[in-house]
Amino acid sequence: MVSILPLVLTDATAHMRGKKLVGPVSLTLSPKGFTMVIGPNGAGKTTLLRLMHGLQRCTKGQVEWAVPAAQARDRQGFVFQSPIMMRRNVADSLAYPLRLRGMSKAEAQEKVAKCAGNFGLSDLLENVAPLLSGGEKQKLSLARALITEPEILFLDEPCANLDGRATREIEHILQQVQARGTRLVMSTHDMGQARRLAQDVIFLMQGKVHEHAAAESFFSAPTTAEAKAFINGDIVE
């Protein structure tokens, strides 16, 4: 199967009721890697990820996959900052994206059991999703997004509402996922997390990409004053 990557943004811009939220952004996401999108609150991280995934309409410029957009859609996953839990138990929540794709009940069940094992959700299969703890919800979101084996996974500050232990668990899973070849694009406002995981960094401020660079060079030698300040932990707006 031909890859849906690279993803190319050309002057991609998102407006909402005449107000510009993000852009114009031009960048390319290569087929492999772990991209971290960083920047202060309101910089446009969420909007940029939604724009790439197609949840936010591109009002100017282009967002182009290597295949037609309709074909690319089924091969992406998205993990939201606050988990969206369907009013179902964990097993049915995990089976849902598979059933949407027409997989038989038996086949889905088998895959759900295996996936739940990988994510440490096996004991929770009968639990009701909206009543899980924050960490469990986010693990379920991650498992649900990955169960269809997407080529690329977007994560919008997935650890923003989690404690240290749950964060470490998620990061561990993400490193394994990346090692298996899934393309990851994740936003965070946690510098430590960006340093631990990033292979390349997109630094956003006020809806514009200030820098897009390999992680080492970004952290050791940022080219803009804003990025330098942000890395140092100074307050930037």
Partner: protein
């Protein structure tokens, strides 16, 4: 107060001796109302879901009209249905006036807006919650509506129960279009009105007790459905 206690005692006797006239009325009431609820649900539930998920011109107005229809005085509905079904009316040819069918039509008109409106609110809230997820998962329009109806099924059941409660206790419209004809269109509410007027308290109270029991069961069912939703014993 002897009339009161006599009526009460007589009522129980009628109920427990399985008085055929009493049970004929109960049976017809349930038949008419259940049929009306089924028809109103078939129209109202998908209509509510459709209004919640689709964007179109005048959508707000359609919803406003729906909410206004919910407050329609049943007597006026009865009047309109009567005029439509009477011999000179547009539907006069079917000869439905003073039949159970006429009562079903009136009840459907009264409770469909209620069911559609409650299901619209339910589905709208659930859609707001699920929107990004279902779009991200690339669910088709049909798949989306199916997920919303299924995951909202408890609230939707509450909507149909509320419709049932309203319909079974309705008297004005039913009286006008049904005519309260013995052995034909006499139901719980219209019979109570008639028997009370005649001073036949035992029979009226027997019917009243049955109606109360039905209403209590309905409200209990609504309560239980709501509780399982909150406690999430799904």
């Amino acid at each position: 107060m002897s009339g009161y206690s006599d009526g009460f005692g007589g009522a129980w006797k009628l109920i427990f001796t399985l008085d055929p006239d009493l049970y004929e009325i109960i049976f017809l009431s349930l038949q008419v109302t259940i049929t009306a609820v089924i028809i109103a649900s078939i129209i109202g539930l998908p209509m509510g879901a459709w209004l919640a998920v689709n964007r179109f011109m005048f959508r707000r107005y359609v919803i406003a009209v729906l909410n206004a229809l919910m407050g329609l005085p049943p007597v006026v509905v009865g009047l309109f249905v009567y005029m439509a079904l009477s011999r000179a009316g547009p539907l006069g040819g079917f000869g439905l006036l003073f039949s159970p069918a006429a009562m079903i039509i009136a009840q459907v008109i009264i409770i469909t807006p209620l069911i559609a409106s409650i299901s619209h609110q339910t589905i709208r809230d659930l859609w707001a919650e699920y929107h990004d997820l279902l779009i991200s998962m690339n669910a088709t329009r049909t798949q989306r509506i199916r997920a919303l109806l299924w995951d909202g099924r408890r609230a939707l059941l509450t909507a149909t129960l509320a419709g049932f409660g309203r319909a079974i206790g309705e008297v004005g419209a039913i009286m006008i279009v049904g005519g309260n004809i013995e052995h034909a269109t006499r139901v719980l509410t219209t019979a109570i009105a008639l028997e009370t007027g005649k001073g036949n308290f035992a029979f009226a109270m027997g019917l009243g007790l049955v109606l109360i029991v039905i209403a209590v069961i309905i409200n209990l069912a609504i309560h239980i459905v709501g509780k399982t939703e909150r406690a999430s014993t799904w």
